[in-house]
C-alpha cells in the first residue's frame, strides 16, 4: 500500500452534503431483496430441530423415520459436519454452536436439521427425529454460574489469567485486568467514596430481519451462498473451513440487510444450510423464525458489575475501580475484557483498576451487540459518577468536565490519548437548551457519557470509469447504514464529479478481494479510505491518458475539479479535458480506466458521546416514558450527515429499549420464556420521542477526511443516561437494567420500607 492516510484539512464539495441514498427507493417500494427474498430453481426448505433442554447429554439421535418420510431429501446431525477445525478452539465453538455434538448447551441449541420439498413436510420430519437426552443441572444466571458450587458447563475449562493455574475447572473462563496507579492510595486520599453493585439483563440486537440464506452446493465442489450478513467474506471463510471447501469455490453474495448490530457477524444457520444442500444435492433455503432468532442467535451478555469511585471535596476523582462479570453463553468469550477496557475510558484517572471475568452460562452463545460490552460498563460507572457528583454537591456535567480525559491523558485501558472529543461533547451538553428546559412533577433528567474504540481492518475496493464517464464503485463492506451513499460522495469528492454519476454496489466474494466485515464502526471509515485510494489511482491513469492525448509529460498534467489541466504557460492553448472526455477516448488511449485499492485501514479514532434524557415515571404503575432525548457525539467528519444522525438516533432508540424493557427471561427449567416480540418488548415509534442530535467534528488525524466511526458509540450512554433520569425522577438509585415497571415499583417499595 502506498497511500498516505493522514488528515489533510481540505475543503469539501460533495462530502458533508445530504443526497438521497441510492437504495432508498427500492427499500420503500419493497423491491429491495433481503435474505429471504432470493430463490433458486428446485430449492428445498430447511428446518432445524432444537434442544428443549438448557443442558443435556445427547445420548442418541435416530433420524431413520424422518428420512423415510416422502418429500424429505436430507437429514443431518453433527456427524454430517465433521470437525475440520484443526485445533482452532474458536472455530470449534462455532461448529458446536451451529450443531450440537455431544451436549446441548442451551434451550434452542441445534441438534439436527432437515431439507424437504416444503415447509409442512420439513416440520413433520422434525417431529419424527428421536433424540435421547440425559438432562443435566443447568445455570443461567451470571452470578450463580461464577459460584464454585454451580453446575459445570465444560469440565475442561480452567480459569485463564490467574497467577497460578487453578486445580479445579470452573465456569469462569478468563480473568483480565487493566489500569494504572495505586487505587488503595487513591481511595485513601478521597473525601467521598461511592460503592455500588449493578446488574444488566441479557438483551437481543432485535434486528427486524431474521437470519436467512439460500445455499447451493454443487457436485463439482463449488458452492453458492446468498445470505443476510454483516460480512460475506468472513462468512465465506468460516463456512469454507467448517464444510471443507476451498474458499475461492464458495461464492457468497450478501443481500440487503434488515439490521445486524453485531448479530450478523457470526454464522449460525449458514453452515447447516450448506451441509443440507451438500447431502440433498439441491439448493436449500433456511430462514429462522423469530422464536429461533431469540433462542439461538446473538444475544449480548448479562452482567453483574461492582463499581467504587472516590473523589476529593474539590471534585477531583482520586481512584476508580470496577469488577465486571459478563456472561458469554456456553462458550468462552472476551466480553468482560472489553467492558473492563471501556468502563472508565472517559476519565482522566491517576489510579484506576478494572478486572473482568468471563462466565459460562446455559444461554445462547453471546455475540457482539453494537459497541459490545461498553453500554453495561457505562451504565454502572456513569450511575456511580452521578451519585458521587450528588454527594459532592456538584453539577453532574461540571463534575464530568472536571475529570474528563483529554489529549495526553493516559486512558484507563493503557495508552495515551491523541485528540479526542469527550470534553467538547460535555461542553456542548452543558450549553444545550435541553439542559435548561423545565421539568414537571414525576419527571427527571439524566445525562451520561460513553466511549467506543472503533476500528478499521482489511479493505478492498474497485472503481471503474465507464466510457460515458459514469463511475461504478464496488466495495466489500456490507451497507448497514447508508454507506453506499457515503462512499459515492467520497468517490465524487476525489474525482471532482457530481454524486449522481457514481453508483456504488456491494460486490460478492468472487468479484473483489477480501474485506473484513462491517463491524467496529468500520464500514465508512475503512471503505472511504480504500475509495479515496482507488480514486487517486484512477486519477493517475486519467492524467496519463490526458498527457498521451496532448503529447506532453504526465508530470505537467494536474487533476482539478473533474478535469485534467495542463500546467505551464507553454500549454496555454490547451483546454482542460473532462473526465467524461478522457473516458470517451479511453478505447484509443490504452483501454478501460479503473482504480483499485487494497489496504489495511488502521488508525481508526476513538469516539465519545454525551447524551441527555428526560423521563416521566408513573409512581403508581412504575411505567416510564422518555419525553425528550438529545445525542451529542463526535463524528470526526460526517460524510453524509443525515446517516450520521440516523446512527445516533438508532443507537439511542435501541438503548431506550434496553434500559426500560428488553430482557431475556428464563424459567427455572432453563427455558426462555419470552422468545417473541409480544413478550420481548422492543420500543416502537410511539414509545419514542424525537431524538435530537448534535454532530461534533473533531478530525481523526489518521484519515484523509478526518472520519471516525459513528455507528456504535451512540448505544453506550443511553442505559446510564436513562437510569440517571429515572433515579432523579423517583428519588431512588436504580441499579438493575431493564428498569421495567415491576423493578421500579420494587425499588420504590424497598425505599419506603427502609
Amino acid at each position: 500500500m502506498n497511500f498516505d492516510p493522514r488528515f489533510s484539512g481540505r475543503q469539501f464539495a460533495s462530502v458533508g452534503t445530504r443526497p438521497i441514498r441510492p437504495d432508498g427507493i427500492d427499500k420503500v417500494t419493497g423491491r429491495a431483496r433481503y435474505g429471504a427474498d432470493f430463490n433458486m430453481a428446485g430449492q428445498l426448505v430447511g428446518r432445524v430441530l432444537r434442544s428443549p433442554h438448557a443442558h443435556a447429554v445427547i445420548k442418541s439421535i435416530d433420524t431413520s423415520k424422518a428420512e423415510k418420510l416422502a418429500g424429505v431429501k436430507a437429514v443431518i446431525t453433527a456427524k454430517d459436519l465433521p470437525d475440520l477445525t484443526d485445533g482452532d478452539a474458536a472455530m470449534y465453538d462455532i461448529l458446536d454452536n451451529c450443531m450440537a455434538r455431544k451436549k446441548a448447551l442451551y434451550d434452542g441449541h441445534a441438534v439436527a436439521a432437515v431439507a424437504a420439498i416444503d415447509a409442512r413436510i420439513a416440520r413433520q420430519a422434525l417431529k419424527l427425529i428421536e433424540v435421547e437426552y440425559e438432562v443435566l443441572p443447568h445455570v443461567t444466571d451470571v452470578d450463580e454460574a461464577a459460584h464454585h458450587h454451580a453446575p459445570l458447563i465444560n469440565d475442561q475449562v480452567f480459569t485463564e489469567g490467574l497467577e497460578e493455574k487453578p486445580a479445579k475447572p470452573s465456569n469462569v473462563t478468563k480473568r483480565t485486568q487493566f489500569g494504572h496507579g495505586d487505587v488503595h492510595k487513591g481511595f485513601a486520599e478521597a473525601d467521598f467514596v461511592v460503592e455500588r453493585s449493578f446488574k444488566t439483563e441479557q438483551t437481543h440486537q432485535g434486528y427486524i430481519e431474521p437470519h436467512a440464506c439460500v445455499a447451493s452446493v454443487n457436485a463439482d465442489g463449488t458452492a453458492d451462498l446468498w445470505v443476510c450478513t454483516q460480512g460475506h467474506f468472513v462468512y465465506r471463510q468460516h463456512c469454507a473451513q467448517l464444510l471443507g471447501l476451498e474458499a475461492s469455490k464458495l461464492r457468497v453474495t450478501s443481500s440487503e440487510i434488515g439490521g445486524g448490530f453485531g448479530g450478523k457477524t457470526h454464522v449460525w444457520a449458514e453452515p447447516v444450510a450448506l451441509a443440507l444442500s451438500r447431502k440433498a444435492g439441491r439448493p436449500v433455503k433456511l430462514v429462522m423464525t423469530r422464536d429461533e432468532v431469540f433462542r439461538a442467535s446473538g444475544p449480548t451478555s448479562a452482567t453483574s458489575i461492582d463499581v467504587k469511585i472516590g473523589a476529593k471535596k474539590d471534585g477531583t476523582i482520586t481512584a476508580a475501580e470496577a469488577t465486571l462479570r459478563y456472561s458469554s453463553g456456553p462458550y468462552a468469550g472476551s466480553w468482560a475484557e472489553i467492558g473492563a477496557m471501556t468502563a472508565f475510558a472517559c476519565y482522566k484517572l491517576e489510579n484506576v483498576k478494572t478486572v473482568g471475568y468471563e462466565v459460562l452460562v446455559n444461554r445462547p452463545k453471546t455475540a457482539a451487540y453494537r459497541a459490545p460490552s461498553a453500554p453495561m460498563a457505562a451504565f454502572a460507572v456513569e450511575s456511580a459518577v452521578d451519585e458521587l457528583a450528588k454527594e459532592l454537591g456538584m453539577d453532574a456535567v461540571d463534575f464530568r468536565i472536571k475529570n474528563a480525559a483529554q489529549e495526553g491523558t493516559r486512558a484507563s485501558y493503557g495508552p495515551v490519548y491523541g485528540p479526542i472529543g469527550i470534553g467538547p461533547t460535555l461542553e456542548a451538553v452543558k450549553h444545550h437548551p435541553h439542559m435548561k428546559a423545565p421539568l414537571k412533577a414525576n419527571q427527571g433528567r439524566g445525562m451520561a457519557c460513553g466511549f467506543w474504540f472503533n476500528f478499521g481492518g482489511q479493505t478492498c475496493t474497485d472503481l471503474n470509469i465507464g466510457m460515458d464517464g459514469s463511475v461504478s464503485l464496488a466495495v466489500g463492506t456490507v451497507d448497514v447504514g447508508g454507506s453506499r451513499a457515503s462512499l459515492s460522495l467520497v468517490a465524487a469528492e476525489e474525482l471532482g464529479i457530481d454524486y449522481s454519476h457514481v453508483k456504488a454496489i456491494v460486490a460478492d466474494t468472487s468479484s473483489l478481494g477480501y474485506n473484513d466485515m462491517t463491524d467496529g464502526s468500520r464500514g465508512t471509515f475503512s471503505s472511504s479510505m480504500a475509495t479515496i485510494s482507488a480514486a487517486r489511482n484512477a486519477i493517475k491513469i486519467l492524467r496519463e491518458r490526458a498527457a498521451q492525448t496532448w503529447d506532453i509529460p504526465v508530470e505537467d498534467v494536474h487533476w482539478e475539479k473533474g478535469h485534467a489541466i495542463a500546467k505551464g504557460e507553454k500549454y496555454g492553448n490547451l483546454s482542460p479535458l473532462s473526465l467524461k472526455e478522457i473516458a470517451a477516448a479511453s478505447g484509443k488511449t490504452g483501454g478501460p480506466i479503473a482504480g483499485h485499492s487494497e489496504l489495511v485501514a488502521d488508525g481508526a479514532g476513538v469516539s465519545f458521546a454525551t447524551h441527555i434524557c428526560d423521563v416521566e415515571v408513573d409512581p403508581e404503575t412504575g411505567s416510564t416514558r422518555v419525553i425528550r432525548y438529545t445525542v451529542v457525539q463526535d463524528a470526526g467528519k460526517a460524510v453524509h450527515p443525515t446517516y450520521v444522525e440516523g446512527q445516533y438516533q438508532g443507537g439511542a432508540a435501541q438503548g431506550i429499549g434496553w434500559a426500560l424493557n428488553e430482557e431475556y427471561i428464563y424459567g427455572k427449567d432453563g427455558r426462555l420464556q419470552n422468545a417473541g416480540f409480544l413478550d420481548y418488548r422492543i420500543p416502537v415509534c410511539s414509545d419514542l420521542p424525537m431524538i435530537d442530535t448534535q454532530i461534533l467534528e473533531i478530525p481523526n488525524p489518521n484519515h484523509p477526511y478526518g472520519v471516525r466511526g459513528v455507528g456504535e458509540t451512540s448505544i453506550v450512554p443511553p442505559l446510564a443516561a436513562i437510569a440517571n433520569a429515572v433515579s432523579n425522577a423517583v428519588g431512588v438509585r436504580m441499579t438493575h437494567i431493564p428498569m421495567s415497571p415491576p423493578r421500579i415499583l420494587a425499588a420504590l417499595d424497598a425505599e419506603r420500607e427502609g
Binding site: K174, T176, Q177, T265, M341, G414, V416, G418, G457, A604
Partner: protein, 81 residues
C-alpha cells in the same frame, strides 16, 4: 530500542513484567522478539494483539514502524458490533 507496555493479563505470561525494552523496528519484529523471549505469548499473538503507538491503535498493520521514543502499548484485539 523501544519501551513496550503490556496490559495486565499479557504481562502474566511475560515474566510478570508490564514494561519491556525491545530492539524492534516494526510491529512484526516486536511480536517475533517477544515470542522468542516469552514463548507463552505466542498463542496470544495468534488470537490477536493490537498495538497502540502514541495512542493510535493498529490491529493489522504489522509493517508499522515503531518510532524511537514512541509510547507503545499492547492491547487485546477487540470485537465490534
Amino acid at each position: 530500542m523501544v519501551e513496550v507496555t503490556l496490559w495486565g493479563s499479557l504481562s502474566a505470561v511475560a515474566g510478570g513484567k508490564a514494561r519491556h525494552e525491545i530492539e524492534a523496528k516494526d510491529i512484526r519484529e516486536l511480536f517475533r522478539k517477544l515470542a522468542e523471549q516469552y514463548p507463552g505469548i505466542e498463542p496470544w499473538i495468534d488470537r490477536g494483539i493490537a498495538v497502540a503507538i502514541d495512542g493510535t491503535i493498529y490491529r493489522d498493520t504489522w509493517s508499522k514502524e515503531l518510532p524511537e521514543g514512541a509510547e507503545i502499548f499492547l492491547l487485546p484485539r477487540l470485537a465490534g458490533g
